[in-house]
Every structure is written in C-alpha cells, then in structure tokens.
Symmetry: C2
Subunit: 448 residues, 2 copies
Amino acid sequence: MSNAVPPGVANTLVSDDQSSMSAEDRELIARRERLLGPAYRLFYDDEPLHVVRGEGVWLFDAQGKRYLDAYNNVVSVGHCNPKITEALTRQASTLNTHTRYLHEGVLEYAERLLATFPSALGHVMLTCTGSEANDLAIRVSKAFTGGSGFIVTQWAYHGVTDAVSQLSPSLGAYVSRGDNIRTVAAPKSSRGRGVNVGEVFALNVQSAVDDLKSRGVKLAALLCDTIFSSDGVFPDPAGFLARAIDVVHDAGGLFIADEVQAGFGRTGDSMWGFARHGVTPDLVTLGKPMGNGHPTAALVMRPEVIAEFGRRSRYFNTFGGNPVSCAVALATLTVIQEEGLIENARIVGSYLLNGIKEIARTYDVIGDVRGAGLFIGVELVNAETNEPNGALARAVVNGLRRRGVLISATGPSANVLKIRPPLVLAKEHASLLIQSVFDVLQAEEPRS
Amino acid sequence: MSNAVPPGVANTLVSDDQSSMSAEDRELIARRERLLGPAYRLFYDDEPLHVVRGEGVWLFDAQGKRYLDAYNNVVSVGHCNPKITEALTRQASTLNTHTRYLHEGVLEYAERLLATFPSALGHVMLTCTGSEANDLAIRVSKAFTGGSGFIVTQWAYHGVTDAVSQLSPSLGAYVSRGDNIRTVAAPKSSRGRGVNVGEVFALNVQSAVDDLKSRGVKLAALLCDTIFSSDGVFPDPAGFLARAIDVVHDAGGLFIADEVQAGFGRTGDSMWGFARHGVTPDLVTLGKPMGNGHPTAALVMRPEVIAEFGRRSRYFNTFGGNPVSCAVALATLTVIQEEGLIENARIVGSYLLNGIKEIARTYDVIGDVRGAGLFIGVELVNAETNEPNGALARAVVNGLRRRGVLISATGPSANVLKIRPPLVLAKEHASLLIQSVFDVLQAEEPRS
C-alpha cells in the first residue's frame, strides 16, 4: 500500500499504519495481498470495513455494529431480500442451463423488461456484467456504423474489459487509450449557471466528432452514463442530452445510454435515466442492480442495429440469460414495480435532497447539492476559493463511516459525495443520513 | 433463419420448416426472435430442445422426456446439485457484497483454489465469465510485456468481448481481427501420426513470432485452450505444449492457459489441463464449471505479471469475487475434491473412450477417437476419402438427441463429436452413451 492517493480515487485504504485495526483485520488484509495481489482496493482511509451480514438498508460488521448503507446501489431492493433469495433458490433447484435450449425464463424476463422501454427498443441480449454489456454495445455499434470512433466524458467509467477500460478515463492514465477515442467535458450543471448545459455539451460533442473526422476516424458512438456518476453526478437540467444526440446521429453515429448506474428506477422519475432527457437511445446497457447482486446484465437496442450482426455472426454468452439469472432478474424487476420503488426513490430522494440542501444553507463548504431520485451528489469545496475539496470529502466519507453510515465520493477531484442507497430507503433512514452528514460537517468544519 | 449452415457451426437450428415442432415450441421460437433478436442460436437441426428440469446427468424436456446430458460441461458436479444450491441459498440469505469490503469468503476460496496450482501461480483475480478472465489476461499481458501481439490457434474460441472475440477465429470471418494477431495450426495429433506434434507446433509458433516481429509487433502472449476444444479436441501426446512455450518465453511473451474447457478436473489426470503437458503457465483463465452454472470465473497468475499493473492501476469487478459467487465456487471445488470427481473422470472417461474406440474398429467413418478424462472427441470422416464428414456428425448429434442423449460437434469442419458430460457421469451412463452412438451409426451408416 502506498500513502499517495491517486486522483479521483475517493475512498481507498491508503495508510500503512495498521495500529487502529484489529488483529483479525490485519490478517485479512495480509491474506488479500498474498492471494488476490496488488490490483485490489479496500474502502476507507485507515480501517477497512469487515462485513458479515446484510439486511434491507443495513450492513453489519464483524463486531455486530450496524451501518446504514447509503452507497450500495447494486442491492437496490435491499440486502438479502427474501423474495430474491426465494426466486434464486427455486430456479437453482429446478434447472440452470443456457440460451441454446428453449426456456421460458429468458423470454418472460425479456418481455417484462422490454415493456419498460420505448417501443423502438425492441431487442435485448443478456450478459453477466455491465462491462460485458458495454463491450457488446461497442462491438455492435462498430459493426453497424462501420466506424471505430467513440466519444465519452472526461472522467467516465463504463467498465473493465480491454475495450471498455479505454472508454473509462477515470481508471487513470496507466490505461492506454486508442486514437479512436475522444473525451468531452461532462455537462456540468453546477458550474454552468446561466449557461445552456445542453448547448455546450452538444458543441463539445460536435468538436470531438470533427476532430475524429479530421483524423480519418468515422464515429461509431457517443457513450454516456445518463447520471454522469463518475464525472461527479450531473442530472440537470433534464433534457440536456437531446441536442448532443442529434449531433451524433447527424454524424452517422449511435447513442449508447449506459444505465448501469441510473437505471432500474434510481432517478425516481422513470425506470431509465435517459427518459428524463426525453430521448430514445439506440443502445442501452444495464447492469449492477438488475439482479440485486446476482451477476446479470443486458444490452437493449433498436432491432436495426443488430440485424446485420445477427445475420452474419452469432452471440453466445455461456451464463448470460441462464434460467437462474433470469428468475432473479424477474423477481428484482417485480419488486421494483410492485412495491413502488421508483415512487419511493422520487419521494425519499427529494426529502433527502432537500434535507442536504438545508444543511448547505449554513455550510459554505457545500458548493452544490444535486441529484435525481436516490442518486445524490454533494459537491464539497474550499469555502474561500470555491475550489474542489477532495480532502474534506474524504474526511466526511470516513467520518460518516465512524458514525455508522456508508457513502463514497466521486468526480475527477473526488470532492463530490456520492449518495446512492438501496431504493428501499425509508424517510427515517434518510433523516438519519441527513443528521449524520450535519454532524460530520459540524465536527470537520465547526465554525462554518 | 437461413438454411445455410455456417462453417464450424455444428449444431444449430437451420430449418425453416417448423412442421415437426409443437405449437408451443413454434411460439417460443417466435418470441425468441422477436425479443432476443437475430444473434442467438438454438441447438438441433429442426427441433430445438425445450428443457424444463435438470438433475444429476439428466435433463428433462417439457413432455417429461429424459435426456442423458453428455454435452454440458458447465454443470460439472451435476444439474441442480443440492450441495451447491444449499451453499448458494445460505450465502444469499446472509450477505452479498463486493471486494472493497473485507470478507473471508473470497479469501477462503482463493486459498483453496491456489492450493491446486503450482506454487509459482500465486495470485487470483475474480471475474464473472471466462470471456472476462481472458480479456483481463490480455490486458495484463499487454501491460507486462509492453507488446501487443497475440498468437492463437486457427479455430480457437476464447470468448466474446471485443478484444477476446478477435482471438476467437471460430466465431467466423465477420469478426474483424487486428494486425497484431496471428493464428497457428492446432497441434493435430490425429493427422500427425509419425510427426512430432510438439515440434511442429513450436515451429508454427516461432513462425508467427517472427512474422509479428517483421511487422514491428512485439509478442504479448500465446493463448491456448489446453484441450483445443473448438479446434477439434487435441490432447495427445501429453507434453506437446512445452516447446512452444519455450519459444514464447524466448520472444519475451507470456503463455496464457485457457482452462475454461479443460479445467476443474475434466481431463482426469489433474485439476488443470496444462498439468498434462508438464508446464507452468504465466496466466491461467478459468470459467464455465467453476460455479456449476453460477456466473463466476477467474484469472490465476504469477505475481510478477500483475505487480506493475496493480501498483499503477486498479481492478474492480462489481460482481467478481462477491460472497455468494465465492460460496458457490467453494462448494463446487469441495464436491470435485471430496467426491473424487477427477478420479471418476479418469476412470469413466477411459471406459467411455475405449467403448467408442471399440465401435471405431467396425466403423471406418470414425477417423479418430481421442480424449482425456471426460473430454472426448470422435472424428467422423468419409470412409473412402478420409475427408472430414460434418454432415454425418450433424446426423449423429441429431440422431442421439432423438435417442435421448445430448452431445455436440466441433472443429473447423464441425466433424468431431464433442462429448463433455458432467463429471458425475457413472459407468452405466457411459454404457448407455456408447450403445447410443453405436445405434445411431448403425442407423446412419448401416452397412459400414
């Protein structure tokens, strides 16, 4: 472990001083380094979290201490939701095979999932991870357009395959990037007060298209996370994506909406983040919360983009769309719909957003509070200079953890608190979170 | 659907004539095409298999008909093994999270898994699919060597990501391939009687290295499936890989052993296919049977190849190494070890191999029978010309299905029967399989 904190790495064990850790934790860390090697990271500055049990919005550590989980978007219907476990067990006890046999499970799920999309998005292909979904979207968009150029935002994260990691600048400079890739500034609503965010974003995308063209690279696609999570969480104003997509289409490219973060109801307005922008993507990638933690993901698309690919090639993913994964995904989607979790994300998200905005009135170190549903970003700055304050964000993340609340930070300066709880968060949990944020700021910045 | 059978596609629904199908199957096929699009394929010439239940070595269709599963290597400890389902349910009811928190599960599995490898292979990183494992191996080998050149066999299959699909020529010519990739002939023991298979293979690899070098491309790695499944199943003579690996190391490249097919005891000699060749790879990729159908996979490696990568970058796979996947993988490994399934693969595999060799004595259309453990290839040829007979292989695969036995075919001419049953196959099942192969040949080639 090194004491240097890489840029944009908001929440990583960095201390070599293990004196505050239990003997058990020290041993677990030593085993991790020995067995898993040096590419793995742990959360929290000087004492990682050793979890043993989860239930609803709560995680429990080895000492039995309870943590309000306001970070883990994957378990969107709650840790260890018994309805999901029941679906998992039932199908695993009956049959688990693959898509080269006929099975109703994948079709039932595909039907239910596609019903949540605009009718133009007619096909779904199943993968196991969001990385695989984005990687397949890259393959399909290259094949359909004949182009190889991609545009992503400056601090984007889309996944870890060889192709997708090149489209994930937030992984850092060690990941090499082909000359077929251009980055554009994220649509920064907070910094763009008085500026037309959509117009600026569209102009930046147009510049990138032109620059690719000048190098003889034809555009394949613009790939955006529709909540711009790793860039620092930029949801507003809803609708700003539309003009950039027109630019992309005019250049013969496709728009890939990465819904791995924003999808499955998180933004509170609709099932999908792109819907807030009034656009219909050409391809949509899904992941993290799709199976409430079970490895399942998908690519949804306009049928025309896969027609030639499907005629001339095939796609088979051994585990993708297997009956167990489909049963789990169907149970997750059913809980989101039947328990009104989109509505809950909207109502509790709004309550949470307003509660933190209230804190911001008395704390100048809060530069901006923004969000959609249960995805909230809280930008921390130096109160005098208004510069990003990553150190304070780290202190808040670690201070909250000591107070039994889990969040993280994001953005190129790692100064934006990332609040992304399971969708089953209730108002009482939101109140606890708001109070804890206030308490930590009070402790860190007592005179603000 | 088209009536044209693409090369190397051994077992695909090709008929537009649905008259032999039930109304229910016709409707399921129509729903698949409407929902999943054109890139998916179904098994069997003119009547796909509609499965509803699995148990041990058996699959059951919607009419309750039972099939001996001699194809699905993924479910290596048997369909719906209750020990695996129990581990799955127990952990899913307790906690499912990720590797940025401390958790014993991933460490316990890593320890148990690495104990089955030569001690030089000291680290393991967890992914969800074999494609992701091979993709990560590509990233790591490029970063370690500074090279970008890869060598694979002519009809290799390693996965479906953008990078890995380029290293999978068996996906067909529609998948474009970079100029940094060279293919070499598979080490064809059957065609090479009297030839030193290892020497020829090493010479071919040397030529590929030289050719890359002549184009200014530095070698990153040789990537081989250690049973050469898609090339047509080439296990013999054990040891033939060693010289090629020396060539690769001399050129500064790495050897990646793809154990997604041969691994976890299938070859009957040892846990890993490379062990038959007396070599220690630099990187090893695992997948399919690792979680008996649950999406989990891994990359095992020499620590030195990941040292710099890990220092300068990070790897996080949201679902990779989660507590549920690790519990399932641990249960699967435990069953393989405690129930002696490697030994079973060796004994029953040998019985099966000899049974089919016995048939070959009276059938000239069997050009060769080869295998290791429970991975067996039966090469079908035109008895007069000795040319590959893909049509007969299709007839045998479909004829066996009608007789209640599931296998497939492989190789560039799709003329090699691919027999790859769960490792819990007993002698009585092997006898049924041998008898069925005989019966089908008798029906297809009555006068041989």
